[in-house]
Each structure stands twice: as C-alpha cells, then as structure tokens.
C-alpha cells in the first residue's frame, strides 16, 4: 500500500502549522520526532506529531486515491506547502519511504522515514470527556502563562501550571496558578458545570509546553472536550486530539502567600498610563533584573531606573494612596506583564513594605490575582 492523495493547500498548511512547535523541538534526540506521521482515514489525512510530552493528531480533508502511511520531515513539508503556488497539493509515495509531491507545475521528491519507528500515540479512555467553551481555558491560560518558570530558571516543578477546581458557596470554579518563585499569578473562572464530574488529582501540573499547545488548540475553536487521566490530559475536538503528559511533582502552598498579604496599604493607579510609563522607564533598566525604583507618595508615584552604560530615566504618575510614603524596588518586566493581561481601568496594588509581597487586582478583573516580590535595592 502506497499513500496517494490530493489535499487543499490551505487545509494542509494549517494542519502542519499547528504541528510545527511540537515537531521542531530543539535538541530532540529521536530523529523521527522531527517528522509528521501521515495516515489515511476515510476521506481525510490524519497528521500526527509528538515530542513525547505533547502529542497532537489532526485530521485534514483529502481525496484519498490509495491508502497508506508514511512520515515526512515536518518543517520541510510545511515549507513546501506554504510556498506552493497551487491550491491543491498531490502527495504520492514512490518507494523506500520517498514521496513525490506535485503542486501545479512544481515537483519535489522528499525523503521520509518508515512509520514503523514512529512512537505510538498515547492510549486514552474514550469516555469521561467534559465539554467546555474554549474561552474559559483561553482566559485561564492567558492570565498565568507569563509567570511560569523557565526550565533553566528553576530547579523545582514550577515549570508547570497548577490546575485546580474549587466549589465555593455552590459555585464552581476552575483555577490555574503559576509562579516562577518571584511572582505568582492566579486566575479562576466560574463555570456553569458541576466540577465534581471533573476527575483531577490533588496536584495537577500541566507543563509549560503543554499549556502553550493547549492555548493554540483552543484558539479558533468554540468548544473543546477535556478529560484528565492520572498521567495525562486529553483535549479533543471532533477528529483532533491532543494528549499532554502531566508533570509529576509538588507545588508550593500558594494560598499562604495570598492570605499573608494585608489588604490595607493600597495604591490605586490608572492601568494604561502606568503600563506606558513602565515601558518608558524599562528602556533604562539593566538587562537581567530590569530594576526600577518606585517612590510612592500620597498623590504621586515617581518611577526611576538607571543603567550604567546608558544613563537614567524618571517618570511620574498620579496615584491615590493614603498611606506612609515609601520607596520600593521591583523588576519592571514583572509589572508590565501583569498589567498587560489585566483589563481594568484602575488597578489596586497592595504594597506593604519594600520586602513583602505586592498584590495586584481589580474589580473588573474578576478572579485574577498577581503577586510580585520586590527587589532589594
């Protein structure tokens, strides 16, 4: 059996595009993981990619002349399809895992690899899926994705998002929490769904890569089906399936920090002007820490930064603040990233001292809390 099919350029390009992040993982040891597995099913091509952490299977409508299965270099195939000048792309397996691709007058011979070596797609239970509107996950992810620790940054399991469910006063919430050890982001969304049906373990950790792919999967879809198993998370929409291997490990008791911040010393500040001011001041911060100094007085905040090589910068914002004047140091980037995902007009920042956590929230940003530790200047 040798694969032979015709497929729309745009459909194939979109499918391959969705697989690029998974198949182009740097430093991968298994050569075949850079390939996409192509199989036929009815009148569709099934494209599968995996980096052993995240596996994605997509279906692309196609005219199948002969059934078959093959793996092809994902990036190269994507580039061929993207650059092709024809609306239809024909793929035909020739021999020894080679394929001939024709698109209009263009012809390519591309070396593939036998599908025998391609890892099995993870097995999962077809039952137990729950349907959610995609925007719920999109919003959860957007508010926490920026403060997940990077792999090299951290020695602990903070390189994942903690996923939780909670029932309070009869209301169901889904929550995502991330922290890189210096800051903490929490987002919860009310759901009209009985979360008791959602089986998750006490500590459900979705790795950063999985979160990025889940976000992409949700984008452009109205609804998704989700099922949590002990070791993996499965997301489904019609013929498309993504399986994310969950991370094992601990997550700190983040609520203790939230509870420890006294909601008293509150700086109220207009979000957009503050954000713009921070971006200006950030032009003069040093590279690693992006240190800024906030001098907080009753009606104004003076932002300043200096860089040994460039010079210094100062800016001023009007605020409403009834407390004692103080001077606090922060990583400017942390503030920018938090303010960027908020939607409110006025943000409330609870800053109690130059060495205690600063908590930010706003009425319009329901369910969102951001906590940032200051820098010692």
């Amino acid at each position: 059996m040798a694969l032979k099919c015709a497929v729309s350029k745009n459909d194939l390009m979109e499918g391959l595009n969705n697989l690029q992040n998974i198949t182009n993982k740097r430093g991968t040891t298994l050569a075949i993981l850079s390939n996409v597995l192509i199989t036929t099913s009815g009148s569709a091509l099934i494209l599968t990619g995996t980096d052993l952490e995240v596996g994605l299977k997509l279906s692309v409508p196609a005219e199948i002349y002969e059934e078959g299965t093959i793996t092809l270099p994902s990036k190269k195939l994507f580039e061929i399809v993207r650059e092709s000048g024809s609306d239809v792309v024909n793929i035909e397996e020739t021999d020894n895992s080679w394929v001939g691709i024709t698109a209009g007058k263009s012809k390519y011979n591309l070396a593939g690899m036998s599908s025998d070596e391609f890892p099995e797609f993870p097995e999962y239970d077809e039952e137990g899926f729950n349907r959610f509107e995609s925007f719920i996950f999109l919003e959860l992810i957007d508010k926490v994705i920026f403060s997940i620790a990077n792999e090299q940054e951290n020695v602990y399991s903070l390189t994942a998002v903690l996923f939780e469910k909670e029932k309070r006063d009869g209301v169901n919430y889904l929550k995502m929490i991330s922290s890189d050890g210096h800051r903490l982001s929490i987002m919860e969304k009310e759901v009209a769904f009985d979360i008791d049906q959602l089986q998750i373990s006490d500590i459900t950790l979705i790795p950063k890569k999985g979160i990025q792919e889940l976000k992409k999967f949700c984008e452009g879809r109205d609804a998704i089906e989700i099922s949590f198993e002990e070791k993996q998370l499965i997301i489904r929409d019609h013929d498309s399936v993504m399986v994310i291997r969950l991370k094992k490990g601990e997550f700190p008791r983040y609520q203790a920090i939230v509870d420890a911040v006294a909601l008293e010393n509150c700086v109220k500040i207009n979000r957009i002007p503050f954000l713009e001011s921070l971006k200006r001041i950030n032009l003069f911060t040093e590279d690693i820490f992006h240190t800024i100094q906030l001098q907080i007085e009753n009606d104004r905040m003076i932002l300043s930064s200096q860089n040994a090589d460039i010079g210094d910068a100062k800016d001023e914002q009007s605020i409403s603040y009834p407390g004692e004047p103080m001077v606090v140091g922060f990583n400017c980037r942390y503030f920018i990233e938090t303010l960027q995902v908020m939607e409110c007009e006025t943000v409330e920042a609870y800053i109690n001292s130059n060495s205690s956590p600063c908590l930010m929230k706003a009425k319009e940003d329901q369910g969102f809390i951001s906590i940032i530790m200051p820098m010692q200047l």
Binding site: N154, V155, Y156, S179, G181, H182, R183, L184, E250, P252, R253, Y254, A256, I257, A260, F289, T291, G329, N331, S355, P357, I371, M373, P374, M375, Q376, L377
Partner: protein, 364 residues
C-alpha cells in the same frame, strides 16, 4: 619589585597534645594521642612527639595509631580549651603587629615589616615571640622567618619542635632546589604524583619548566608554582581572611554502601551546610562532594554554578549531578563531606530579587 617584606610563620608544636600534657602533668613524657576511640574509626587530631616516635601521625586512623603505639594515652579533643589557649597566643602576636593571619588554632602568619616594637630584625622578633609564648603558656612553638608567606611557612618546619629557621633571599634558591615538591605550597598528593611523572621531584627540577609549560600541566596553579620556586610569593598577610568555604563531613561507624543510607546522610549534611550558609548570610557558587571509600582512597567532585547555592535543597539539587561521578553505591564509603565555596555575602548581590516566601518551598 615590591620592597622587602618580613614575614614570620609561627607554628605551635604538637599543639593539642601539648596542651593536654601541660594541663595534665601525668601525661608528660608519654605518647599522647588526641583523637577518637582507639578501637573506633576516628582519626588522630594531634599527637605528642613521644607518640610520633612510634610512627603515629595526624590524620591517621586511631586504630592504626593504636597498633603502632599500644601504650599511647588516647585523649578526647577539647576544642574549647584549645581555642582559649589559641586566643592567648594570638594576643601575644598582637603586641607585635596587627597584620596577623591565623591559619588555624595553632598557626599564624605575622607581617612584621612594620612592627609595634620598631624592631628591624625579624629573627629577633621571632625569638622574642616564641620565648613569650613559652613564658606565658609553657608551650613551645617553632617559627619560620623569610620574605614571604611560602618561604616562612616551609622554614618553620625545618627545626621543629622549638626551633627557629631563617631563610634569607640568597638562601631561598639553594633551599628550594632540595625541597621535595610535595612540600611546595599548593602541591597536594595528586599534583605531587603528576609532577613526579613529569620527572619533577624537587625545586631544582621544577625550576627547569617554563611558566607556559607549568600552566599547561597545572592550569592556574602552574603560574604560581613558577613563581614560588623562584622564591616569589606576593600574597599579602590578610588579617581578616574570610572563611573560604562552609562545609560538613561525617565518618560512619561502619562502611556503608546502601544508597538509601547514603542519601539520608547527604541530605542531613546538606541541611546543615544550608543552615550555616543562611546563618552567615552568604551564598556560594561551588559545591564540593568529598568521598572517602573503605580503602581510604579519597576523592572530591565539584560543580560551579551561576545561581547562588543558599540552601540544603540547592545543595541536594546540584549533588545529583556529582553523584554519578563517584563510585558511591558500588564501593563502600566511610566518610562523606559536603562543602560550599566561592562564598559571597548576600548583600553583595544587590539589587537582589526577593523570593516569594512560600512556607513549604525554600526557593532561593
């Protein structure tokens, strides 16, 4: 070239054992071994000259010392007492100079180029200091006098005990020519072996090598060897020498091979070192694991990292990378040690990003 310095190295003779003999006259004239139980697994911390005659040496296992000299009196070390006596001796030094660099309880460098007695003769000062120590403490010391730390230190060893040796700049070369390489500063067992393989047995041999050759074979130390064999050592006497490392080690009652045991020992060592780091408000960038196997062969493995090592968790994390470089788990171990070096004070790293105070997670 810098102006000529006058450095004295004072080294107390068999310090711990001498303090014991002085405090307990019954021990006078007897072989005294300060250390652990003779039947146990500790090592000799110090031994009197009477015991040395039987071949007993510091750092030797007590059981071996006992075999060599069954008549020896074994005494438990009383570090507090030695510290007390040491302070007394250091206060004598202070009457001569403020440039004192203690190396341990019983050893110190004194820079007497300028001194409080306005005495231009370093050798006279050395005699006076040793005499004062004896008058005040009834303990003897040996002294080395020369123009730098390295020469002063090797010379204090020459007429030990109770002797003073002076090496003048003219005497330095002929003296170093005959000095076995093992006696050179910074030459440990491994370097000594390596030098022997290169045909370097003494200073004369060592001097035949160019700075580049030595740097090639011995890295950064090579250049230092090139200088000291020419009697050049510009290291100053540093009075407030900071602690260079923080560490802890433990010798087992019985050799162990089980990983579970080893891990729990390492964890507790890591915790202790971490606690010391935080007490001293400092952090380190290098972690060193020391392993002594059942046959006394001893290895160290280190890792130097970019992120500050501040806690027991950090130590355990990096330790995981060092363990595969040892034979732990395959070869019985009698001693394990951990130390953190390249120390910096926390306040030196300003501006410093504070960690979130998670109650159960010690992050940085």
């Amino acid at each position: 070239m810098e102006s000529v310095r006058k450095i004295i190295h004072i080294d107390m003779d068999a310090f711990f054992a001498s303090v014991e003999q002085r405090d307990n006259p019954q021990l006078k004239g007897k072989p005294v071994i300060v250390g652990g139980n003779p039947k146990g697994r500790g090592v000799v911390a110090a031994c009197s000259y009477e015991a040395r005659r039987y071949g007993v040496r510091s750092a030797m296992p007590c059981s071996k010392a006992y075999r060599l000299c069954p008549a020896a009196v074994f005494v438990r070390p009383r570090l507090d007492r030695y510290r007390e006596v040491s302070l007394e001796i250091m206060s004598i030094f202070q009457q001569y100079t403020d440039l004192i660099e203690p190396l341990s309880l019983d050893e110190a460098f004194l820079d007497v180029t300028e001194n409080k007695k306005q005495n231009p003769s370093a050798s006279r000062l050395a005699h006076e200091i040793c005499r004062r120590i004896f008058e005040q403490t009834a303990l003897t010391a040996s002294a080395g006098v020369s123009g730098n730390k390295f020469l002063a230190k090797v010379s204090s060893d020459i007429n030990k005990p109770n002797g003073i040796t002076i090496i003048t700049p003219e005497q330095a070369e002929p003296f170093l020519d005959k000095l076995p390489v093992g006696k050179f500063f910074g030459v440990g067992k491994v370097t000594e072996q390596k030098m022997n393989q290169l045909g370097i047995k003494n200073g004369l041999h060592l001097r035949q090598f160019s700075r580049e050759d030595l740097a090639f074979h011995f890295g950064k130390s090579g250049s230092f060897f090139y200088d000291i064999v020419r009697g050049i050592d510009n290291r100053p006497v540093e009075p407030s020498r900071e602690r260079k490392s923080i560490g802890n080690e433990t010798t087992f009652q019985e050799d162990i091979i089980e990983m579970e045991m080893i891990n729990s020992v390492l964890e507790s060592l890591a915790r202790r070192v971490g606690a010391t780091l935080s007490r001293k408000e400092c952090y380190g960038l290098t972690l060193t694991l020391k392993v002594r196997y059942f046959d006394f062969s001893t290895i160290t493995r280190s890792i130097t990292v970019q992120t500050p090592i501040r806690t027991g968790e950090h130590i355990m994390h990096y330790l995981a990378r060092l363990l595969p470089e040892t034979e732990i788990g395959r070869k019985s171990v009698r001693l394990l040690g951990l130390s953190v070096s390249k120390l910096y004070m926390l306040e030196e790293m300003l501006p410093y990003q504070l960690p979130l105070p998670f109650p159960d997670f010690d992050l940085y």
